[in-house]
Symmetry: C2
Subunit: 143 residues, 2 copies
Amino acid sequence: MKRAMFTTPQDAEAAFYEAFEKADLDAMMAVWADDDDIACVHPGGARVSGVAQVRESWRRVFAGGQALRFRLRQQQSLNGMTFAVHSVYEQISIACEAGARNPVITTNIYMRTENGWRMVVHHASPAPSSPDSEGKRAPKMLH
Amino acid sequence: MKRAMFTTPQDAEAAFYEAFEKADLDAMMAVWADDDDIACVHPGGARVSGVAQVRESWRRVFAGGQALRFRLRQQQSLNGMTFAVHSVYEQISIACEAGARNPVITTNIYMRTENGWRMVVHHASPAPSSPDSEGKRAPKMLH
């Protein structure tokens, strides 16, 4: 299988959201590191780990057949020589569906491998209704 | 203020959960890097960024006054020279409360700074009821 070589974390992230929008499983998995310790948390789901579980989780997500579009907001990053952490709000819209959905808060972590930059962690969770409320809300749970 | 110097990510993580259990705000903030780009997501909450917002979020969490106890399960880690990523299930119990709460899935990220290892990201989100369901559940949401 042809695998892309991502020379920056930004390239890997662009490929991740492109694969997500296209529901392209091979392209999605080409973004991930080939490592037992990769981890993925879909919103409301359990953590899945390792290539086989992560691939299966995306197969299920893509099986829904919905054409998603992502707009990334409030991007923050922490960059090292071999790791990069990107924190984003994903504003997701669905073709043929009116109205806005609640955004998703996502931590994407990339690692520089011998095959270029690859995703090692994707942790996504539902955000409160308005990202503009950032920093103004008290957490509703005890933690 | 006296600040601890953590020589490993594990030391920083131990101090994080100790400060959490003691609801000790100064000890909690001593674990975090002094950086505008630190980010914290409490379960169900918005992302807060930077020292002032992160501190305020913990002040609110601790203001609840509940004595929490943490048991960490299914720990995974990815380690680099300057970054460490820890993924854990937090099983939280409350003194004087019977019954188990749903676990929390947490991604903790540490960075090696000139002042030792410090936390830079804490992303926590509610997990499905049983961590044993890991990898066996289809995500309920489209993402």
